[in-house]
Amino acid sequence: MKNDWLFAPGHGLCAGCAIPIIVKHILAISGENTIVVNATGCLEVATTEYPRTAWRVPWVHVAFENAAAVASGIEAAMKKKGEKANIICFGGDGGTADIGIQALSGMVERGHNVLYVMYDNEAYMNTGIQRSGATPYGAWTTTSEVGKANPIGNARPKKPVAEIMVAHRASYVATVNVAFIRDFKKKVEKALKTEGPRFIHAISTCPTGWRSDPSKSIEIIKLATETGLFPLWESENGEEIKITYKPKFLPVEEYLKAQGRFRHLLKNPEYIEKIKEDIKQWWRRHGVEI
């Protein structure tokens, strides 16, 4: 793979974490002429312990909630100087869907020429598995504990950040899954060729927080898509989303039972029914009957 050395090995991300796979593939496509802005999170902490760095492109981290604003400033300075490079933000689901959503919304609304990539492991994993706005319904986290009074865990549905970005009329929005690498690469290439604000939502495993087998990470996120729970789609300039992969619609239990964070649901079929119903509803809204 050309440029696959831009994200160097030797970083401290966990075994089975999908983040380095996502990042490595994106940088391999964007190449050397890239500036990376990283929100605080697993990726930042585990790749830049001074004086070492895993980044062979210019990289900056400022804080948790402001990667999109920092990128806006970089882009403005480049415009003034007449320079061109890919500016790519990497933020986790917490840094993007929750604390960083204002800065992200502003960046997209103002039309900055930046690609923002959310790696979504569905909780605050860097601080130790606390729920975020992107935590799915029914997931256990350390702040959505499961017990007699709360048998569900996280009782709220996942915040649809990518759809929120479509509503902003971002020039390109896509959901990606490294388990579907051809779809992944095609979308990254398209995103990098598009001008204006772009957003990619990448599902990412976290064996530590998902309570899953690190050697099964790719199989597990593959199931997220094959069960219909994490659909792969794209949208340009706020247009209707286009499905890019038709899943097999495997039973969602396959996905749930591979992860300790959903273990409590298996005893409560009514909650699993609700998840199935939510999947059905989403696909129905997009013209597919399961």
């Binding site: 890239t34 492109v57 210019p58 400022v62 806006s72 403005a76 919304s105």
Partner: protein, 396 residues
């Protein structure tokens, strides 16, 4: 030639004269006119800069960091709640050693919400690692912004600066201001070429890395040294400015202090009122002197020790207060003079939330200070406060 300018216009002209590359902003009273004017300068082609209207002050300072790291000269303006919202990122701007310059319309903080003048906003940012300058007039506001760029961008410093102008008293009040010629400012500041590492795809580097206990303290010590160096660089730049533009600046300005027993220490626009009050009182034979603090960070310890030597009583006029202690300037002066028997130092909390500081205010300060010459007085004195209303618990 002098032009009538409001303080905010002074700040905007200074940014234009400094030929800033990027101006990230978010509007807030009383500093909004600064971004409005920059927007106009950019729109009509007078200033070749990128203007970014952000979604919050937090994002504005974040964008400033991004632009500065890409090698742009960056200015912005804010006040009060906006500055407080920036708080987290102010540490990062100084920790990353970026020479950003910010104009502040010094305004009170909520609650209760209040748009008028005091220094609480910048004082609350004292420990963020920014240089702090306070203007007495709109001319000083313009000049200090220009000098702040030169000081901040000096290789020995590389720290951001904030320049405070009192809300409304300066920001919205017209004063005659000499706008320097562009060619002279260009000569003074030089073409902006970042002398620090920037985000460069030809020479990749990692910025804002994770600093473990093994390395963190060295970064902070480097900042400490930079602040110490700033103290000398400020003197050099003030001198050069005087040679080029004929206006004299110093970290502290002493007036009538030579024979004075009593010295007032002031910061910001109330200095003018204090000066006229002292002139009047000196006609009555009262030996009062005045020290104006222009630089609050780095704190001018040596200069103050020299100036206060042999003085009997110092009245510190604080337009801020640190709850549970007293005025912040008082605290700094007290620490600076530690171990010396004289002078006696008394604190006066005045003019919070835009309450006018008048001759009457200084009359009351003088009365207590003169008592302090003879005997003991309260350490912290709140002047012109309706204590009765507070005692009746009307304010809780």
């Amino acid at each position: 030639m002098k032009t009538m300018l409001r303080g905010n216009e002074s700040v905007a002209y200074a940014f234009k004269l400094a030929r800033i590359d990027v101006f990230p902003m978010f509007p807030i009273t009383p500093s909004t006119l600064v971004p409005e004017m920059i927007s106009k300068f950019v729109a009509n082609g007078e200033l070749d800069a990128e203007f970014i209207p952000l979604d919050s002050e937090h994002s504005a300072i974040s964008a400033a960091i991004g632009a500065s790291l890409k090698g742009a000269r960056v200015g912005t303006a804010t006040a009060s709640q906006g500055l407080a919202l920036m708080h987290e990122i102010l540490f990062i701007a100084s920790g990353m050693r970026l020479p950003i310059v910010m104009g502040i319309g010094n305004r009170a903080l909520s609650a209760p919400i209040n748009i008028w003048c005091d220094h609480q906003d910048t004082i609350a940012q004292r420990d963020t690692g920014w240089l702090q300058f306070y203007a007495e007039s709109n001319q000083e506001g313009l000049d200090l912004i220009l000098m702040a760029f030169k000081i901040s961008e000096d290789k020995r410093v590389l720290l951001p600066s904030m320049v405070g102008l009192d809300a409304f008293v300066l920001t919205h009040t017209m004063e005659p201001v000499d706008i320097p010629e562009q060619s002279k400012v260009d000569e003074f500041l030089g073409e902006f070429k970042p002398n620090y590492r920037i985000l460069d795809t030809k020479n990749p580097a990692t910025f804002g890395a994770f600093g473990s206990p093994r390395h963190y303290m060295e970064f902070k010590y480097a900042q400490h040294l930079a602040m110490q160096a700033a103290s000398h660089v400020i003197d050099e730049v003030f001198e050069e400015f005087e040679r080029k533009f004929g206006r004299k600046y110093s970290k502290i300005t002493e007036e009538f202090t030579e024979d004075a027993d009593i010295v007032f220490i002031t910061m910001g626009s109330c200095t003018g009122t204090a000066r006229e009050f002292i002139k009047m009182k000196r006609k009555e034979g009262k030996k009062i002197g005045l020290i104006k603090l222009t630089v609050f960070r780095p704190f001018p310890k040596d200069e103050l020790r020299k100036a206060l030597k042999g003085k009997k009583v110092v009245a510190v006029v604080d337009r801020n207060f640190s709850p549970g202690f007293g005025g912040a300037v008082y605290g700094e002066v007290l620490a600076t003079m530690y171990g010396r028997d004289e002078p006696k130092i008394i604190d006066f909390i005045v003019g919070l939330g835009g309450r006018d500081i008048t001759f009457d205010t200084f009359e009351k300060i003088l009365e207590i200070t003169e008592k302090g010459l003879e005997g003991s007085v309260e350490e912290i004195n709140w002047i012109e406060v309706d204590k009765e209303a507070v005692e009746k618990e009307e304010m809780i």
